[in-house]
Amino acid sequence: MKVTVENQGLETIVWFEGRLDTPSSLEVSKQLEEEISAKEASRTVILDCTKLDYISSSGLRIFLTLRKAASAAGGKVVIRNMNDNIRSVFLITGFLNLFEVF
């Protein structure tokens, strides 16, 4: 699992690549805690899922944590390019309603 954070002007893009299962979620969670500060959270954070192959509930928790931090700091989280399998997991868990999804 590989996660890259990139600041582009007023937007922060997080690139996910690989499988976001329970063990990798623990690492990614730590990484994002360091890289997404309150400053980034106050702006727009784009989660790019183009290369995300799999997500479990622990992965969903990361997305929810980012969402909560953003709304606390006055920013927003946008998810883009989910594949059908990921989208169906978002659908059955009601997560599709929590994010701006493109």
Binding site: D21, T22, P23, L26, S56, S57, D84, V89, T93
Partner: protein
């Protein structure tokens, strides 16, 4: 378009040809009529000439009778006059006798040559018949006004010594009428001409006689004196009596023609001349009367001579024109008919081409690439559909979803375009409904509800719908009034037991029974429409289900079985027309993909880092069972959530424990049994996450067990022998 242009050109040519034919016919007919007209003209002219001549002869005879009578009256009295010369006082009685004894004579005189009798220098007693009576009155011509010695009737006989017919004249002071006079010199016994004896003939009778000449409506007779004076001429409005023809010609302004007439008539004995008068041609037939030199003539206008032939000609032409007009009308009607037929043909061609397109569209709706699933060794599918008309009301369809073959075969009531429209709707409904339904019973019910609610034309569809689990050979099916398919195994052919149910579209809320069976490896399902079982030969025999069964060779492949059936039915039907759409669908279940294992084991330590092994475990199962990638991912997710739960919470922090995962493959489901020896924990009673909460209120946990329950079909927990046993299964 080319065909249309060509036909239009052909049509133009036909019409043109038709009109050319009419014109040629018209010209031929008219030329014939003209030739006939000119030939008959000669005949008609001869006939007219003969009629004129005979009329002339008759008139002439009558004239000669009258003048002979007058001449005879005079000659018979010659001797008595001679004798009476010596007794002049008896001469008036002589004249009276001449008049009274001869009805034709109106007046008579004996005029003495002046000086013959010294006692009577002029002496001419004149007896004149009273009009309408036999009696006479006695007059005297010996007056100064009359001056008989200078009158022509007196001078000529005295000069010539012969009898003489005078020119016509009005005898003023004598008879006072238009008359002509025969005068004869009378000699005394010494031979000296002493007197002239006359007889007057009134020309009134001549006028009456000539007026009776009406051999043609406006033909008229004319009498001309020997010097060319007109004596009698009925249409005398412009020809004055006693004019000469020459004078008349000048006054009529066509002197040249009349001079010729004049010349001919005055010089020849008889004949005919043509003369133009008032712009019209006339024939003048004439004949000279020898005794008086008068010329009798009959003038006949040419147009009356030729009236009958003209009338005949006109009648013939009229009839021909009527005939031609009828031919034109018939030709036009024929051309119109032809045009209508052409248009009908164009429309028919257009409709045929549209039907061909409709047929292509219909054929493109049904799958017809064989084999349809080349990658799937577990099924062998083949189908054939032959509509009785351009488009048909049969349908079949199939596709694979989630490792299951969804298939349908159906027959819309009726044939042709209406049936094909219903067929298209039915086929798309099958696709739409079955995309969200796994149960053929629900597919059929939904299709029926939709179809029956909008069935204004009372069409119905018999249908057989099936869902075959390619993994297990389990077949769920629902029959809606369709023929029962045959199950063909290696050594037998048996009809699949079906509950008939109602066809689709009859009753909106009809209930349909779902049935199920298992196909074993090598078994084939043969489906067909009644176009096969009821195919008719010329003897009106049906192909029948018995023949279907006997023609099936057990153990055949899908394509082979359908091709054999096509050959058999074709040989049976012969050249009888195909009466109904004929559709066959064969599905052979090969079972080749069924994995050899039924159970798989994986044992993990209670270490979260071992979770990725689950992914490999699922991937291997998915490969062997050929389940869909999306299903594999869902199974992976459910398994990960369940196992993570055990790893995180079953064993005390820091202690080592195991998680046993067993996968069991069943006919149509896969089951996972997760066993651990940790603290008792029943996830099936754990509270579920509320997935409808907004982000701010969402707890971070609770999603895992929710996902497990949502994804799996069954979930059960059991505590046995100090172990937590969690079973969960999913239909495949």
């Amino acid at each position: 378009m080319i065909v249309k242009d060509k036909s239009a050109k052909l049509r133009r040519q036909t019409v043109l040809g038709g009109f050319m034919l009419i014109i040629i016919a018209a010209v031929t007919l008219e030329v014939t009529a003209l030739v006939q007209y000119f030939f008959s003209r000669d005949g008609i002219r001869n006939e007219a000439s003969q009629r004129a001549e005979s009329e002339l002869k008759a008139a002439e005879l009558e004239i000669i009778n009258v003048i002979s009578e007058a001449e005879a009256a005079v000659r018979n009295s010659e001797w008595i006059t001679q004798w009476c010369l010596n007794f002049p006082d008896s001469l008036p009685s002589v004249t009276r006798r001449v008049v009274e004894c001869n009805p034709a004579v109106v007046g008579s005189t004996v005029a003495l040559v002046p000086g013959y009798d010294p006692t009577r220098p002029l002496f001419a007693p004149y007896s004149l018949r009273n009009p309408g009576e036999q009696q006479t009155q006695l007059l005297s011509l010996a007056t100064e006004q009359y001056d008989y010695p200078s009158q022509e009737w007196f001078t000529r006989p005295v000069e010539t010594g012969e009898g003489y017919w005078s020119e016509p004249y009005v005898d003023e002071g004598g008879g006072n009428m238009l008359m002509t006079t025969y005068s004869l010199p009378i000699r005394d016994y010494s031979g000296q001409i002493a007197a002239v004896l006359t007889a007057d003939i009134s020309l009134d009778w001549l006028t009456g006689m000539i007026n009776d000449i009406h051999i043609y409506p406006s033909a008229f007779g004319m009498v001309i004196s020997r010097t060319g004076r007109i004596m009698v001429c009925p249409p005398a409005e412009s020809l004055e009596m006693r004019q000469t023809i020459g004078e008349a010609a000048v006054s009529l302004g066509d002197s040249a023609a009349f001079m010729e007439v004049n010349h001919n008539m005055l010089t020849e004995e008889n004949g005919n001349v043509e003369v133009k008068y008032k712009g019209a041609s006339n024939h003048v037939f004439f004949d000279r009367i020898d005794r008086t030199g008068w010329i009798m003539s009959i003038v006949i206008p040419d147009n009356e001579i030729y009236m009958s032939v003209k009338r005949l000609g006109l009648m013939v032409m009229l009839l021909q024109l009527v005939g031609l007009a009828m031919i034109v009308l018939i030709l036009r009607a024929t051309a119109k008919k032809q045009r209508e037929y052409q248009e009908l043909n164009d429309r028919r061609e257009k409709m045929l081409s549209e039907l061909k397109i409709a047929s292509d569209i219909q054929m493109s709706m049904i799958p017809k690439v064989f084999p349809p699933f080349p990658d799937r060794k577990e099924i062998d599918v083949y189908a054939s559909m032959v509509p009785a008309k351009e488009v048909g009301g049969d349908l079949y369809d199939y596709y694979v979803r989630d490792n299951k073959l969804y298939f349908v075969i159906g027959d819309v009531s009726g044939k042709g375009i209406p049936a094909s429209l219903v067929m298209a709707v039915t086929r798309s409904q099958f696709r739409t409904v079955s995309a969200h339904e796994k149960s053929p019973q629900r597919v059929v019910s939904a299709m029926n509800a939709s179809m029956a609610s909008s069935n204004d034309n009372n069409m119905f569809v018999t249908l057989f719908c099936g869902v075959l689990n390619l993994f297990t050979g389990h077949l769920r099916y629902c029959n809606a009034g369709h023929n029962a398919p045959f199950v063909v195994s290696r050594d037998s052919v048996k009809a699949l037991p079906v509950v008939p149910n109602l066809p689709l579209g009859v009753v909106p809320d009809a209930s349909f029974t779902e049935q199920e069976t298992d196909l074993s490896c090598g078994e084939l399902l043969f489906l067909y429409t009644d176009g096969l079982s009821e195919a008719e030969n010329n003897a009106k025999e049906l192909f029948s289900e018995e023949r279907i069964v006997s023609e099936i060779v057990p153990g055949s492949g899908a394509e082979e079985i359908i091709h054999n059936m096509e050959k058999s039915v074709s040989a049976f039907v012969g050249d009888a027309p195909q009466s109904d759409d004929l559709t066959m669908l064969a599905i052979k279940y090969m079972n080749a993909a069924l994995p050899e294992w039924t159970e798989r084991h994986l044992i993990l330590h209670n270490d979260i880092q071992q979770i990725p092994q689950l992914a490999d475990f699922i991937e291997q199962i998915a490969d062997e069972t050929r389940i869909e990638q999306s299903l594999a991912m869902a199974l992976n997710l459910a398994l990960e959530e369940a196992v993570t739960n055990v790893i995180m919470y079953a064993y005390p922090e820091g202690s080592d424990g195991l998680v046993d995962i067993e996968a069991i493959l069943r006919r149509n489901s896969i089951e996972f049994i997760i066993t651990d020896s940790g603290v008792p924990f029943d996830p099936t009673v754990a509270p579920l996450a509320d997935v409808s909460l907004p982000a701010e209120q969402r707890p971070i946990g609770g999603l895992g067990i929710y996902l497990v329950r949502t994804i799996m079909d069954t979930l059960s927990y059991e505590r046995a022998d100090g172990k937590n046993i969690l079973s969960m299964s999913k239909k495949i």
